[in-house]
Structure formats: structure tokens, C-alpha cells
């Protein structure tokens, strides 16, 4: 069992996702970056679970997948709402509230 490869892959995906959330301005790309972080989590959970032969890791990953689907559903609804009201999905344009 080569645990390190899985953990390194997950860590790399986590970093890519965090970079995307912080830098990208396009709504869809930000949502995709969040999905990348959540998938890094799933890789970690499944790798740890199969290392220790414990089913809890796989179960946790299933919960993460189900909840991530709901979360992104809400996110797409908000992006769609923003497109209807502003004709743009550039998150940096949402700057009415500040101070």
C-alpha cells in the first residue's frame, strides 16, 4: 500500500482548489475549485480508510459526496440568480455592500 502517493495527490489538489477559490473571479470556476477541494478530501478519506481497513472512511466519503452535490446545487442557483439580475457571473462585480 503506497499511502504517500494518495496523500500527495490530495494535498496537490487541495492547493489547486484553494488557489482557484482565492484567485478566480468567474462563478462557475470558483464552484469547480470548491469541488476540487472536496475531492481532495475524498481521496484522503478513502486512502486512510483502506490503509486501516476501517469502513468509516468510505462512509465519510459517501456523506461528503452527497452533501457536496447539495452545496453545489445551491451555488449554481445563486450564480444563476446573479446572472438573471446582472447579466454577469463575475464575482468581483458584487461590491454593493462594503465598509
Amino acid at each position: 500500500m503506497f499511502l504517500n502517493q494518495f496523500l500527495l495527490l490530495a494535498a496537490a489538489l487541495f492547493c489547486i482548489g484553494v488557489y482557484g477559490v482565492l484567485v478566480r473571479k468567474n462563478g462557475i470556476l470558483v464552484l469547480m475549485s470548491i469541488e476540487i477541494i472536496l475531492n481532495a478530501v475524498n481521496i484522503n478519506l478513502v486512502a486512510f480508510g483502506s490503509l486501516t481497513d476501517d469502513v468509516a472512511g468510505e462512509v465519510f466519503a459517501l456523506f461528503t459526496i452527497a452533501v457536496a452535490a447539495a452545496e453545489v446545487g445551491i451555488g449554481l442557483a445563486i450564480v444563476l440568480l446573479m446572472y438573471r439580475n446582472r447579466r454577469s457571473i463575475d464575482f468581483s462585480e458584487a461590491d454593493l455592500l462594503k465598509g
Binding site: 470548491i34 477541494i37 472536496l38 461590491d95
Partner: protein
């Protein structure tokens, strides 16, 4: 593994229906509300708010019977625990939810948006909070967190054709989802390094050895950072003022009280049950978060001209006060737990009350500018007295509830009997003085100054708002008389029997 699963006889884990009754009651009523919306459409509109209040009152019944019964109950191998601590928090969430329904009744009915779904989402968010109070396992904490957050994103975006409400929901959603993703990564590291998702097993595993491993430290930091977003602690508070300003005001009250309290409950479950043996990692982190939140929150609140934004920054500072006892969990765990719980209950009452007055005043002035509170006493003396009680309680002036809450926090910090605790106690005291300036500025404007436009028409306050202000004011005053909720449990019993 599949073959193994197929050959094994499935045995249903024993379910204690009484212990799960509060959650099941909320779930049942929430489903009923949603079915009513689908089946009756517009005809169901007038039943939505009464049914939601009934749901919350009905949920109080099993909570009270469980408290009278008094036995600690534990299900699913210790993932779901009912004890005095979780019952107090459940009762607080349900009562805070009830006050939010009172605040929402007129506000939502008078807007031209769909009403039934609002209460369905509110109940589902409260269900997540009630579940969180009993969660003692990473998976159930995660599911409860998402169950309370996802409806809250929708509630913040409720006025869907209003650009400011859209923006409020967008910022809340992005920060919330990002924080929960980071927190999950931390949870996966904790699971990997301890081999269990159960908090008491995690505590046993991380306590081994004098020094923590790097993976454990990274996991702890990421999990705590994730919850710091939820409780809007500095520097993870940036969403809070914008979301509070743009969201409908009852939703703002709900987010600033119930959602923040749920973040604290999750943090307490993880810290007191799962990481108590690693206080050398948790304490410095909490110290920095607490000191930074109260100082930054108060300084930024000083220059606000909008009362909702001022309350948002004051909420950041209050989160700092509540995090402070967590910086001494190694020395005095029981006192620290009691101080945080006491502060949460009192904070819920006084902050909901302040938002109730803000809503009542906005019915006449249509504004949340602090300048429009000048001369409030001349046309709304009752509201002025109530607002003064809530603001002075938030500032921590005796004999109101907020004073007692701060007293418990400083008591815990001093009891720790070490330099870091005493220094943090001094930081709390200095910050209370800074905070008094901006709370008192609103108070002086209300009592001493003239009405800006000379308009002395009275404010038309609906019965439900009067009830909300009355309930929260009574709780704020009664707790100031030293009615103790904190000494109810021992930290070592939180993991369940």
C-alpha cells in the same frame, strides 16, 4: 468487502426514540410544512407561521421530558449523546428559533416573496443545530453543520430580485462552503492520524506522546479555522457585515445568534470531547483568535454608521469574548465550558432583542442608519428603554445579563492561574471599555438628541414584535441577577456513557 457485507446479518442498531424525539418532531413538522406548500400553494400561506411556531413549541416538550428524566443517553456507538449540556443548547436553539419566527411573521408576510418555504428552511436549519448539540462524531458534526448552513445560504438570498440580498447570500455561501471544505480536509487528516471518527477515540489517540505529530497539528488548525468562519472570528469575519446588511433582518438576527451559537457548539464538542488531551495545540490558537477578534471587532465597530453593520462588528467582538475561555481548557475545563455556555445563552437573548428593536424602528424610519435613532425617546419611549437594556447588556454593564456573562469569562481566565489567562482577562476588560463607547453613542442619541426631521408619529409595532422584545428583555434582565446555567456538567462526561 462486498461479499463480507452481503453475508453479514444486518442488525439494526438500537434506537432510543425518546432521545431522538426533539429531532424527529422538528423533522416531522418541517416535512408537513413542505408538503402543505406543495399541496395547497397560496392557500397554505396563512398557516405557515403558526405551524412553524407550533413545531418549535412541540419540540420543547421532548426536550423538557428528557431534562426531567435526567439520564444521559448515548446512541450509535457514542456518535449521538443526550446530556444536560446538549439539552441546554437544544432548548436555546429552539427558543431562539421561536423568537426568530416571531420576528419574521410580519416582515415576511408584508414582503411579496414566497412565504411557506421560508419557514420550512428555517425549521430545517434549526434541525441541524439541534442535531449539532448531540453530535460527538466527525461525520455527524459534518452532516449537522451542512444541514444548518445550506438552508441559511438560501435564507440570506431570500429577496431574490434585490441585488444586495443576492450579494449577501453569495458572500455567505462562498465563505461558508470554502470554510467547510477546509474544515473537511482537516477532519480527514484527524481521521487518518487517529483511525477513528468518534471524538472520544480521537482524544485517546491524540493524547498519546508528549509532542503532537505534524499531521495532528495541521488537522486541528484546519478544523478550528473552518469553525472560526462559522462564528465570524477575526480574520475570518469578512462575510459577516456584508451578509448581515444585505440579508432580510430576521434572517440576520437568526445568523448572528443561532448560526453563530451552532458554530460554538461544534467547536466545544470538538475541543472538549476530541482535543482536550492536546490543549498545548488548541490553547495558543484560541488565545490568538480570541484576542484578535475582540480587538479588531471593537475597533471596526467604532466607525460604523449603520446599526446592523455595527451589530455585526460587535458580534465579531462578542465571538472573541466567547472564544477566550477556550484558551484555558487545559487548566480549568469545567469552568471554561460553563462560561462559554452561559455567554452563548445570554448573548442569544440580548442580540435577538437588539435586532427586534432595529426591526421595529425600521418599520417607521425605513432606515438602519444610527443617525436616524436620534430622538427615539420622544416618539417611542418603550422601544428606547428596551434598546438601552440590550445595548448596555452587550456592553456588559451590571446588573444586566451581559455583565454576568463577562464575569464568568473573566472568572474562568483568572482561575486558570497562569500568565496567558490573566493577560487575556486584561484584554477582555480593556475591550469592554472600548465597546462601551459605540454602544453608549447610540444610547445618548436616542435619549438626549432631537428628532432629525421633527416627525413625532408613533411607531406601529405589531404584537409579535412586542412579544419578541418582551421575552428577550426578561431573559436579559433575569440572567443578570445571577441565575446560573453554567454549572451543570462535568467535561469528562460529555462523551456519553
Amino acid at each position: 468487502m462486498l461479499a463480507l457485507l452481503a453475508s453479514a446479518d444486518f442488525v439494526r442498531p438500537p434506537i432510543d426514540w425518546h432521545a431522538a424525539a426533539p429531532e424527529l418532531t422538528l423533522l416531522g413538522f418541517g416535512a408537513l410544512l413542505t408538503m402543505m406548500d406543495i399541496g395547497w400553494l397560496e392557500k397554505g400561506r396563512k398557516f405557515a407561521a403558526p405551524l412553524a411556531s407550533l413545531a418549535l413549541l412541540a419540540t420543547m416538550i421532548p426536550i423538557i421530558t428528557l431534562a426531567v428524566d435526567g439520564n444521559d443517553r448515548s446512541m450509535f456507538g457514542g456518535a449521538f449523546v443526550v446530556d444536560n449540556y446538549s439539552l441546554i443548547m437544544k432548548a436555546m436553539f429552539v427558543l431562539a428559533g421561536y423568537v426568530v419566527v416571531l420576528l419574521s411573521t410580519n416582515y415576511i408576510a408584508e414582503g411579496d416573496y414566497w412565504e411557506n418555504e421560508y419557514y420550512g428552511l428555517l425549521l430545517s436549519s434549526i434541525l441541524g443545530m439541534v442535531l449539532m448539540a448531540s453530535s460527538r462524531d466527525l461525520i455527524s458534526i459534518f452532516v449537522a453543520l451542512e444541514l444548518l448552513s445550506i438552508p441559511a445560504y438560501l435564507l440570506a438570498t431570500w429577496r431574490k430580485r434585490d441585488l444586495r440580498s443576492n450579494e449577501a447570500g453569495l458572500k455567505y455561501y462562498l465563505m461558508g462552503v470554502f470554510a467547510s471544505a477546509v474544515m473537511l480536509y482537516g477532519m480527514s487528516l484527524l481521521y487518518g492520524s487517529t483511525g477513528s471518527t468518534l471524538l472520544s477515540d480521537i482524544n485517546a489517540a491524540v493524547s498519546r506522546g508528549a509532542d503532537p505529530t505534524a499531521v495532528v497539528v495541521l488537522g486541528v488548525v484546519l478544523v478550528i479555522v473552518g469553525f472560526a468562519f462559522k462564528v465570524s472570528a477575526f480574520p475570518f469575519h469578512t462575510w459577516a457585515p456584508d451578509t448581515y446588511e444585505g440579508a432580510p433582518t430576521p434572517v440576520t438576527a437568526f445568523l448572528s445568534v443561532a448560526s453563530k451559537a451552532a458554530g460554538f457548539v461544534a467547536l466545544m464538542n470538538i475541543v472538549f470531547v476530541g482535543l482536550l488531551g492536546r490543549d498545548d495545540v488548541v490553547e495558543p490558537l484560541m488565545w490568538v483568535l480570541a484576542a484578535a477578534s475582540m480587538t479588531a471587532g471593537n475597533v471596526m465597530a467604532l466607525r460604523q454608521t449603520n446599526i446592523v453593520r455595527m451589530l455585526a462588528y460587535s458580534g465579531v467582538a462578542q465571538a472573541g469574548y466567547m472564544l477566550a475561555p477556550l484558551a484555558v481548557i487545559g487548566e480549568v475545563p469545567d469552568t471554561a465550558l460553563g462560561a462559554v455556555v452561559t455567554y452563548l445563552v445570554i448573548y442569544a437573548a440580548m442580540n435577538l432583542g437588539a435586532f427586534a428593536v432595529v426591526m421595529a424602528v425600521a418599520r417607521k424610519t425605513r432606515s438602519a442608519e444610527i443617525a436616524d435613532y436620534r430622538g427615539l425617546f420622544q416618539y417611542a419611549p418603550g422601544l428606547t428603554v428596551a434598546m438601552t437594556i440590550f445595548l448596555f447588556s452587550l456592553a456588559g454593564i451590571p446588573p444586566l445579563g451581559g455583565w454576568f456573562a463577562k464575569f464568568r469569562v473573566i472568572e474562568a481566565l483568572i482561575d486558570a492561574n497562569n500568565a496567558s489567562g490573566v493577560v487575556l482577562g486584561v484584554v477582555v476588560a480593556v475591550n469592554s471599555v472600548i465597546a462601551l463607547y459605540y454602544y453608549a453613542r447610540v444610547g445618548i442619541g436616542m435619549w438626549a438628541e432631537e428628532v432629525p426631521d421633527g416627525d413625532l408619529r408613533r411607531v406601529d409595532v405589531p404584537v409579535s414584535l412586542v412579544a419578541a422584545i418582551g421575552i428577550t428583555a426578561i431573559v436579559t434582565i433575569v440572567f443578570g441577577l445571577g441565575f446560573v446555567v453554567g454549572d451543570f456538567t462535568d467535561v469528562s462526561l460529555l462523551a456519553g456513557g
